[in-house]
Structure formats: structure tokens, C-alpha cells
């Protein structure tokens, strides 16, 4: 299966370390004692708790949500009692606390009744989108953008659905695992997404280093069964028997192409993958739909399938627990909200090499302050790294302008210029070099021979610029309020004077009027 691909600029080849977790079979984590749900969603949005402390909740019950269009509901992943609504550490780089709902599970796993759409081929796209939103489905690749919102492409013409199975970050194998164990759910998810978009063509992209996943997909596409037995999780279970759920038959899949893309980081970046597959470039500040493409993670497609066909909300996902600091690296089906400590314990606990806890991959992940934090919807990987991975603390040397960063940048920026300007607080110049086009993929940082923490410089500079803009807005607002107040006071003063003058005039008039002995004017 040789295909010609387009190339994006830069990128790096990384040590993949995928065999650590990918060679173990998929396991299902037990119900944790506690489930924790941060109410903060992406982009600073907060959802509201819809249950109170002391409430009994069932698995699949909505426990938090908001009317905001970019907000999706959160569902309980198991049954139990809400025991707290309090500030706890959340997965965020700051290490600050956020408001969380805490459920103590009862181990019974009683679920709410779900309704399913047996035949989505006759459902309206709007209906399907609404179901996807109600099921709380977000992008599972890492960005956690609400899937239903992304599937609403307005009046843009879409001609291609891309399912992103190109896991380019080292260590992470959850998508690979998903494709190998339940390729049907991904294919069916693809069919649903294609119906919503009304597109005729879908590409499922996997990396060339994932031959088993591609094979499993091809086999499933031909109507065969995946090589390994279906996952034991109810969410990932396959329909038994042929067409028992009345879903798309194998012929529907003829429009779905399975392509193996080069294993170069960051091929799995949405815009990079679209460039590799189609040669199309998404304009700055645009979205892929602007160039006729919608891209979803393969895990998202499986979640869409579960949401629509099984009526199951998004309450669990595959998480790769891996790294030299874990005793038994493997992929596990974990309930969203499971404390990381319990997941690691299930994987045999820490080894003595454990140094740092990372949520996500080593290139774009998040360093976590503790393992009390829960997994969230976008948690694809828990990486327990050893001291080798604490590279950011290496002694940085002066920049020698070698240009390795520019060569590695997939956006074709000049990181070294961004660095000089960010470091010396010349934020306008940094913006002139298009700081905000930076996708923070970490390639420049990775290749820098001087070990300069470039990405953090860029993040800090972006933060300061946004901060300044907020402050400027606030100042402008305050100026308007101040000027309005000045004007009002001025007006009041004038009115007072006016009133005083009129009164005086009236008095004077009255005095003059009175003297000729005329009767006083009637009011």
C-alpha cells in the first residue's frame, strides 16, 4: 500500500518507546474508590454542578453541565454518592486547585437507562449531533474540543473526513490499541461522522509503525473480525452476531481508505496530518473545515459510535499507562475521573526509576504535581518518566544561532528570533515574528543544542501578551466609565446651576411682578 504523501516542513524523528505498552493486552481497570470531576473545561469555561453533595448518582447520569455552546455535559462513570464539591488540584500546568465534584463509588455500577439509535442511516445530522453532545463526547486526541461543535461546519463545503490515528508522540499507544482491539467501532463511528457531514470520502490515517492497527482496520473493513478478542469493556464491546444492531454493513466502508503515514513527529497534529494527506494548508486563524476537511481522532469516532448506537455517554476511555517508572506498562480502559494513583497501582505501582509524572506524551504533555489528580476526557497517557525525561532542568547554554530550531519547526517559524524577543520582553517584535502561530509542539526545544527551554519562553510570552491585552481592555473600559461619570457629574452640575438660575430668575421675576401689583402667576 504505497501512497504518495505531501510533506510538512520540519518535524523530528523521535525514539518511540511504544513497545513498552503496545505489546501488552488491553486491560480494564476496576471501579476506583473515588471519581473526581474538575468542573473547569477547556478555554476557561466552567460547567455547573447539577448534583449536590449527598446525592445518589448512577453511572451515565449527567452531573455537571452548562448552557454555553462550547460546554458539554459530564457524566458519572459509576454509581455512588456525591461526597464533595470542593477545590482540589486539577490537571493544569499551574498546579492550582479547581472546583471538583467528588463521587465515592458504591461498586455496584448501577447505570441509568440508555436509549440508542438502531439505524443512524435514517437519523438527521442534527439529531446525531445532539446525541453526540448529550453524550459528552469531546476530541479524545488531547484538545478536548466538543465534537458536536466541530461537526457543525456551517455553510462550508466539506469533502473529506480524516480520522486521526497517527499517534506521533512517543510512548502513547492508546489509539493503536483501540484500532487493534475494536476496529469496528471506529469504522462505524466513521460512518456516523460521514453521515453527519454528508461526505463521500474518509481517510483513516495510522502511522507506518502501526502495521497491526492498519491490518485490523483492513480486516474489519472487509467484514472480518479483529484478530484479538473484543475488549472486555462494555463500552468497547462489539455487537454479537451479524448486523444485530442494524448498523452500517460492510459495503458502507468502501469509501473509507486506510493510509499509513510516515512516523515523523508531529504528523499527528491536525493541520500537519491534513497537509500530509491532502496537501491543503489551513489558513492562519482558520479551521480545517475552511479547506473542506474535518479531522477527528479515532478514539473520538469510537466514542461517537458508542454514543449514537449504544446510547452510552463518554465515561471511559483507553489510557496508556507507561514509562520506565511504571512496573507494568500497558493500555487500560479507565473510567474518566479515576485518580491517577489508582491507575498506576493497577499497573503494578511505581518503580524506583519514577521521577516525574506526565499527563500526555513527553513532547506536549503536562507535568503533574501529584498523583491525586484524576484522569480527564483528554487524558490519553500517563507517563511516569525517569530522570532522563527531566531534560528541561538541564543547564541551558547561550543560543549559538545554529538554526536547528527553524529547521525543525513544522510551522516554519524562526524560533530563535522568537526566543530573543520573548526573553528580552520585546513582545511586539515577538508578535511580528508570529509568536501566536506557534503550536507548542516542542520540536525546536527538542533539537536545541543549547538546551534552551524555548517552548516555555513562548508560553510565557504569549501569557504576558494576553495579560496585557486583558489589562488594556480593562483600562479602556475604566476610561469609558470614568468619562461617563465625569459627563454625568458635569451634566448634574449644569442642571443644578440651571435649576438655581431658573429659581433665581423666577424669584426675581416674582419680585418685579409683585411690585406693579399684578396677581402672582398661576402655576
Amino acid at each position: 500500500m504505497l501512497s504518495r504523501f505531501w510533506e510538512f516542513h520540519g518535524g523530528v524523528r523521535l525514539n518511540r518507546h511504544k513497545e513498552l505498552s503496545s505489546e501488552q493486552p488491553l486491560a480494564v481497570a476496576p471501579i476506583p474508590k473515588q471519581l473526581i470531576y474538575p468542573l473547569q473545561q477547556r478555554g476557561g469555561l466552567n460547567s455547573k454542578a447539577l448534583v449536590a453533595v449527598g446525592d445518589q448518582v448512577l453511572k451515565g447520569q449527567i452531573i455537571a453541565g452548562d448552557d454555553h455552546p462550547l460546554s458539554v455535559p459530564t457524566h458519572a462513570a459509576s454509581s455512588g454518592v456525591v461526597t464533595a464539591l470542593e477545590y482540589r488540584p486539577v490537571p493544569h500546568p499551574s498546579g492550582l486547585d479547581g472546583l471538583c465534584l467528588v463521587i465515592d463509588t458504591d461498586g455496584l455500577d448501577r447505570a441509568v437507562r440508555t436509549k440508542s439509535v438502531k439505524d443512524f442511516n435514517h437519523s438527521k445530522p442534527d439529531t446525531l449531533r445532539r446525541r453526540i453532545r448529550e453524550a459528552g463526547v469531546v476530541g479524545l486526541g488531547g484538545a478536548a474540543f466538543p465534537t458536536a461543535t466541530k461537526m457543525n461546519t456551517g455553510n462550508r463545503t466539506i469533502d473529506l473526513l480524516v480520522l486521526n490515528g497517527a499517534e506521533c508522540e512517543p510512548y502513547i499507544t492508546c489509539d493503536d490499541c483501540l484500532l487493534r482491539t475494536t476496529p469496528d467501532s471506529v469504522l462505524q463511528g466513521a460512518a456516523i461522522l460521514m453521515r453527519i457531514l454528508g461526505v463521500e470520502r474518509c481517510i483513516i490515517a495510522v502511522e507506518e509503525d502501526m502495521p497491526e492497527a492498519a491490518q485490523a482496520l483492513e480486516k474489519a473493513k472487509l467484514g472480518g473480525r479483529p484478530p484479538s478478542p473484543p475488549a472486555p469493556s462494555p463500552r468497547f464491546a462489539l455487537p454479537d452476531g451479524e448486523g444485530s444492531k442494524g448498523v452500517a454493513d460492510a459495503t458502507t466502508y468502501s469509501n473509507i481508505e486506510i493510509l499509513k503515514v510516515p512516523s515523523k513527529y508531529p504528523t499527528g497534529g491536525e493541520k500537519q496530518l491534513i497537509q500530509v494527506l491532502t496537501g491543503r494548508e489551513v489558513p492562519v486563524r482558520g479551521i480545517p473545515a475552511d479547506v473542506g476537511v474535518v479531522c477527528q481522532n479515532v478514539g473520538t469516532a469510537a466514542a461517537v459510535y458508542a454514543a449514537v448506537v449504544e446510547g452510552a455517554p463518554l465515561t471511559s476511555r483507553i489510557v496508556t499507562v507507561t514509562g520506565p517508572g511504571v512496573a507494568r506498562p500497558q493500555n487500560v480502559v479507565a473510567r474518566i475521573g479515576t485518580p491517577i494513583a489508582e491507575l498506576v497501582a493497577y499497573c503494578g505501582g511505581y518503580t524506583e526509576r519514577a521521577q516525574r509524572l506526565i499527563m500526555g506524551g513527553p513532547m506536549m504533555g503536562l507535568a503533574l504535581p501529584s498523583d491525586e489528580l484524576p484522569t480527564i476526557k483528554s487524558t490519553n497517557c500517563i507517563l511516569v518518566a525517569d530522570s532522563d525525561a527531566v531534560g528541561g532542568e538541564k543547564q541551558a547554554l547561550p543560543c549559538i544561532r545554529c538554526g536547528a530550531c527553524s529547521e525543525a519547526c513544522p510551522v516554519n517559524l524562526i524560533p530563535q528570533q522568537l526566543y530573543w524577543h520573548s526573553r528580552s520582553d520585546q513582545l511586539k517584535k515577538a508578535q511580528a515574528y508570529n509568536l501566536f502561530d506557534c503550536i507548542e509542539c516542542g520540536c525546536c526545544d527538542y533539537v536545541c543544542p543549547s538546551h534552551i527551554p524555548l517552548v516555555q519562553y513562548f508560553r510565557a510570552a504569549k501569557g504576558r501578551i494576553l495579560d496585557k491585552q486583558r489589562e488594556q481592555q480593562k483600562a479602556d473600559h475604566a476610561r469609558l466609565r470614568f468619562e461617563a461619570r465625569q459627563a454625568r457629574k458635569e451634566r448634574e452640575k449644569r442642571e443644578k446651576e440651571e435649576a438655581a438660575r431658573r429659581k433665581k430668575e423666577a424669584l426675581a421675576k416674582a419680585a418685579t411682578d409683585e411690585s406693579p401689583g399684578r396677581p402672582p402667576p398661576s402655576p
Partner: protein, 352 residues
């Protein structure tokens, strides 16, 4: 709590010192050939220059109150001193080496704020400053494979009376310049030049300590390319420009203008093309900018060699183009993903 730390948590192993080590390794063949050809005086000069470069660096770091060890160990001062030594006449006295490394390290690098901050290539700055200040010492070229014994060598390097005359002559470039000025043609000049083009390619000719062997330098340079320490843009555009100009003019008048093979094999061209012009700090960062930079260097070298007052123009060419690097970097920027060449967001087909 652990300090806040941003991704990525993984790093490539290549460090600054590894890069510098590779460059030093690539310079080694040419250096060894130079030392063999020019004997003990050359070795003395080499050691003095490199050693003093390290001392100047350490002194500057101490004065600036910076940590000495990490910077000294990154091999950058060693490399700078090494390059200065390679571009000196092989039997130059010790104080030329010390002055050269002073200009390179102190004036050329530390005054700007150290590694990565300098505008001009330190080694070329030293070369040009020395050439202008000490024209006699800087143009005393000795014959290869003609070195005296230990004692005489000591005298040559560290002062004393030594009769140079029987050992010296002009470089091939200088010889041609003199011959042309006296109205003789190229074939006559070659005949009286002493060393053939082929021999000079291997280094058997008069010239700077480490510049004579074009083959060894090109070999080291190609290895650096393979190691991805440098990119092809500057060497290729620089050499191609010289080749194109030399071919053009030799076709116009073969008696007046020597051909490309002569140009490539003589003077500092190979050293400059692979090791000097490719200096990260003082060359443009974008590929197109590097092509322009290389072409500019090549053109200026050819201009000075052919019509200038000096027989060799590599140092001047590099310094001139160094001064243009910020301008090139400002105007030549790569096209950013999702933007057009001018930095505006891409327009969508079929939309306004």
C-alpha cells in the same frame, strides 16, 4: 512542590559541545597536513594561538563575573583559536598568534556579549585586522616540506635572528597578481609559480597554516554536511558562484583569468566555504538567506582576487557579508504555515 516545568520533557542528545567537537574533528586532517608540511614553527604557532585563545576567553569570563568552566568547556573558544591559527602564515612569530586570538576572542566575541552575540566571524576579524596591521608578518609565506630543525624552529616562533629569505616566496594567488601587474599572462605565471594546481589541491604549496590542502578541507566539510552539522546552502552557493564567475571569465580571456579549478584549490576558499561562512552565529538563518549569503561571499572573493589590491579576499568577503546578515535575516523569512510570503493569512479558494 516541584517547580513548574513546560513540555517537552525529552531532548535530543546533541549539545553545543558535541557540535563544536565535530567541527574540530573535521578540521583535523587539514591541520595535520598543514603541520606536517610546515614543520615545528607551525606547531609552535598553533599551540600558542589556541592556548592564548583559551586564556583570553577565561580572562574575559572572569572579568565579566561569569562561570568559567561551562563556557570554556563548550569548545567554542578552542574552535575560534584553532581557526585563527589555521589562517595565519605558518611561520608567523608567536605574538601574531597571541594578538590574533586576542582580536578574535576579546574584540570579536566577548565584547559583543559572548557566544552567539557577535556580528562578525571572530577568526576572520582577527585575520583581516592582522593583515592590515602587520602586512609583513602576515604575508611571509614559506615553502612547504622545507622545515628547519627544532632549534631553528624555536627561533622562528619565539624571536631571534633567522634568515627567512631562502625559505619564502609568494602564494600562488599573490604570484599571479604580481605577474599580471607586470604584464605577463597566465601560462607564463604558472610556469614560474613553482607549484602546480594539482599539488596545491593536496596542500603542497605556499599559504596559510591550515588552508593549503583544499582536498582535506573539502573532505572535512563534506563529513560535516553528512553529520548535519552544517547545511549545504552556504558551501554550495559560495563555491558555485566562484565556479560560475571563474568559468565565465576564463572563457572570455584564458590568459588573463585563471579557471575555476585554480580558484577552488587556492587560498582560503575551501576553509571559508565549509568552516567560516557556515558559522551559525554570523550567517543568516533561513535557507534562502544562506544561499544569498554564500553567493555574496563567493562573488566578493572572486572580485577581490581578480581586481582587488589584495591577492586573497576571503576574510574581507566574509566580514562584508557578516555585516549584511541582519539585513538578510530581516527581509528573507520563510513562508509560515497558513500564511503567504508576506505573512498574511492564506486566502481560501473561491472566497473573497
Amino acid at each position: 512542590m516541584k517547580p513548574i516545568l513546560s513540555a517537552p520533557f525529552s531532548r535530543d542528545d546533541t549539545g553545543v559541545s558535541a557540535i563544536m567537537r565535530k567541527v574540530l574533528l573535521a578540521l583535523t586532517p587539514a591541520t595535520v597536513i598543514g603541520l606536517l608540511l610546515f614543520g615545528w614553527p607551525a606547531l609552535f604557532l598553533f599551540v600558542v594561538t589556541v592556548g592564548s585563545a583559551l586564556l583570553w576567553e577565561a580572562l574575559c569570563l572572569l572579568l565579566a563575573g561569569k562561570a568559567v568552566r561551562p563556557t570554556l568547556l563548550d569548545y567554542s573558544a578552542l574552535l575560534t583559536g584553532w581557526l585563527v591559527a589555521l589562517s595565519l602564515p605558518p611561520w608567523a612569530p608567536w605574538w601574531i598568534g597571541v594578538t590574533g586570538s586576542f582580536i578574535a576572542i576579546v574584540v570579536g566575541k566577548q565584547v559583543y556579549g559572548g557566544l552567539g552575540q557577535n556580528l562578525f566571524n571572530p577568526a576572520m576579524l582577527a585575520r583581516v585586522a592582522l593583515l592590515v596591521s602587520f602586512p609583513l608578518e602576515m604575508t611571509t609565506w614559506v615553502n612547504p616540506l622545507n622545515a628547519p630543525g627544532w632549534a631553528d624552529s624555536w627561533t622562528i616562533a619565539f624571536g631571534g635572528d633567522f634568515a627567512f629569505d631562502s625559505y619564502t616566496g609568494a602564494t600562488l594567488l599573490g604570484h599571479l597578481k604580481t605577474e599580471f601587474s607586470q604584464g605577463r599572462g597566465l601560462s607564463a605565471a604558472y610556469a614560474s609559480g613553482g607549484y602546480g594546481t594539482l599539488a596545491s589541491w593536496f596542500g603542497v604549496t605556499r599559504g596559510s597554516l591550515g588552508e593549503t590542502s583544499a582536498i582535506a578541507l573539502a573532505g572535512g566539510g563534506l563529513w560535516l554536511l553528512r553529520q548535519k552539522v552544517i547545511t549545504w546552502h552556504i558551501p554550495v552557493s559560495l563555491l558555485a558562484t566562484v565556479i560560475v564567475l571563474a568559468s565565465l571569465f576564463t572563457l572570455i580571456d584564458g590568459e588573463r583569468y585563471p579557471g575555476p579549478l585554480f580558484h577552488l584549490g587556492s587560498g582560503a576558499l575551501m576553509l571559508v566555504a565549509f568552516f567560516i561562512a557556515t558559522d551559525y552565529v554570523t550567517s543568516p538563518s533561513s535557507p534562502l538567506g544562506q544561499l544569498l549569503f554564500g553567493a555574496g561571499c563567493g562573488a566578493i572573493i572572486f572580485l577581490i582576487r581578480t581586481w582587488g589590491a589584495f591577492p586573497e579576499g576571503a576574510g574581507f568577503a566574509v566580514l562584508l557579508m557578516n555585516s549584511l546578515t541582519p539585513v538578510i535575516d530581516h527581509y528573507v523569512r520563510p513562508r509560515i504555515y497558513g500564511r503567504d510570503l508576506k505573512g498574511r493569512p492564506l486566502e481560501l479558494e473561491g472566497s473573497q
